[in-house]
Amino acid sequence: MSGKTTLTLHGRKVVGGVAEGEALVTHDTISGWGGVNPMTGTIIETRHELQGQSFKDKVLVCPGAKGSSGWSGAFHLTRLTRTAPKALIFNEMTTKIALGAVVMRVPAVTQLDQDPLAVIRTGDWVRVDGDRGIVEVTRAEPLGRPDDLDLVEDAVRLTREKA
């Protein structure tokens, strides 16, 4: 398909395995216990950038973990309730996020050669190869192009076809 861009990031394995999905990116660190509802996979922390949003089946991209030591327990529960993210990409290594990633059993990488928070956008398609520490990011439009331009062109094309 034309207009797609792919970007490859290299980092370090935290948890092995391969998974892909749509990215959910936040610049706020995430609280586990008390910050997410593990029954629904939703961020509940007041004033969090993603408050009310679900990370179920998403590739979660975040700076790291904060808050309660119940972090791993809360994310462990998301595996049981099938609301866990598909993979985890983060910058700041902590015991909370390391243990949480281990017991969630999802591919996880850190220490990437480009800042994932700067280059991955919510909605991008991301493939995480935990074993090799590789992240592949696919975007529907070239970098720097306004998102809605394609929609406008599509609408024009459809109108012409109908006419």
Partner: protein
């Protein structure tokens, strides 16, 4: 990871299946961290094998097999159920979800009480001390300086590192349950001297005296430094134990602070130079009147209705002197009929309060003294609560999000006044 012979033996199963599963989990965890080895620990604080009806049903447990099943499948993240042996090292159980005496007041279901008392009985039989508190350091678990620990509970972790000078990372349920069986935890982060020096300097330019002052300073500090290590100097005297308790709890909630240094106060910070060691501060911040006011406003951002129907004291669990203060502030009056007052503490401190008649004083005023849990952990508030008043920045951070209510934050005096009148009248600093 480089393992010693005895660690390799555990991993190969020489000490039984449970210790093998525990070691497997710890190796996965250590490798995820990038740790090269383990440290030996003889002080582990967690919530081993505890369960709610959700976990009980999820793992299709029976009352007879629940402890082994849940400890194996959840705590050790094993795919196979193993028999849980006696713990190898000094291990304690932190807070739980239900007060075994006051469970009806908390609105707990009988199934939840049964799950809690069954798992407590099983944990006791494995040699685990049932402290049932977020403040183990208030009830006799006081590790020595430099001692390697594996603790959960962010407010206890930050106390352990900062005030006692012992060494623990923020461990989780799975890693502490595995450490109880192996006496091992990854040698990473705060176990290592070079990672314990300060990263940020905070100059305190306003008097910090009351519990509320320390809570606000902690909340500001956590938000400012995230999970890094703040070094504070300036206008504070020598904080009391309860001030450290509220400062650390707040800093661990708004951020992820696991270690702080107060120059001239805490054991690894006799001087500014000692606190920073070879590091230079990444940032120098100031905490003055404007920052204090902004922090107060943030903590009160989730409140608009002055009609208070619930006052909660005891986050982290109240020390005896805090219960005494509540009694003093109640002055023999009765709390408003529109308001509830719940004071949360540990069983050990409650028994002291009982023997002093303090529990009775609070009950006579219309309040309750409860143990084991709190409103956030137990997800328990009086029926119909819409607006709470809290003297804990940590609880003000969590409770509105968890229970969907408004919460005011202020001094213990403001909170007890709200309980007596049913109205919030806290003063903005």
């Amino acid at each position: 990871m480089q393992l010693t012979d005895s660690e390799k033996a555990m991993l190969e199963g020489a000490e039984g299946k449970a210790r093998q599963k525990a070691m497997q989990l710890l190796v996965r965890y250590g490798e995820a961290l990038g740790a090269e080895r383990f440290v030996i620990t003889n002080n582990v604080a967690g919530v081993p094998g505890s369960y709610t009806p959700f976990l009980f049903n999820y793992y299709k447990a029976t009352r007879e097999n629940a402890y082994d099943r849940i400890y194996s499948l959840f705590d050790l993240d094993s795919d196979e159920v193993v028999e849980v042996p006696q713990v190898s090292v000094h291990s304690c159980h932190l807070q739980g979800g239900v007060d075994p005496e006051g469970w009806q007041i908390l609105g707990a279901k009988p199934e939840a009480l049964q799950a809690s008392s069954d798992s407590e009985r099983a944990a006791t039989s494995k040699g685990i001390e049932i402290l049932k508190t977020c403040t183990p350091y208030l009830v006799g678990n006081v590790p020595s300086r430099g001692e390697h620990c594996a603790w959960m509970e962010s407010s206890a972790i930050v106390y352990c590192n900062s005030v006692l000078g012992a060494r623990t990372n923020a461990e989780g349920r799975e890693s502490t349950s595995a450490a109880m069986l192996t006496g091992r935890i990854p040698d990473w982060g705060l176990h290592r001297e070079e990672n314990r020096f300060g990263t940020h300097r905070i100059e305190v330019n306003v008097e910090v005296e009351s519990l509320m002052d320390w809570g606000m300073l902690g909340y500001f500090t956590g938000a400012a430094v995230g999970e890094r290590i703040p070094v504070l100097s300036g206008r504070f005297g020598t904080p009391q134990l309860i001030h450290h308790k509220h400062f650390g709890a707040a800093a661990a909630s708004s951020g992820g602070v696991e270690l702080y240094h107060l120059v001239g106060v805490t054991p690894e910070a006799s001087t500014l130079e000692q606190a920073f060691g070879p590091r230079r501060p990444i940032e120098v911040l100031s905490y003055g009147k404007a920052e204090r006011r902004r922090t107060y406003d943030e903590l009160n951002a989730r409140a608009s209705d002055p009609n208070v129907d619930y006052v909660m004291i005891g986050c982290p669990h109240a020390a005896l002197e805090q219960i005494e203060e509540v009694c003093r502030l109640l002055e023999g009056k009765r709390i408003s009929s529109n308001c509830n007052l719940w004071v949360f503490t540990s069983r050990a401190v409650k028994s002291l309060a009982d023997s002093r008649g303090l529990t009775q004083t609070i009950r006579r005023a219309g309040g309750q003294v409860l143990t084991d849990t709190c409103s956030a952990i137990g997800q328990a508030i009086p029926p119909g609560t819409r607006v709470a008043a809290l003297d804990s920045a940590k609880q003000a951070h969590y409770l509105p999000a968890i229970m969907g209510i408004q919460a005011w934050f202020g001094t213990t005096r403001d909170c007890i006044a709200a309980a007596l009148t049913g109205r919030w009248n806290g003063e903005r600093p």
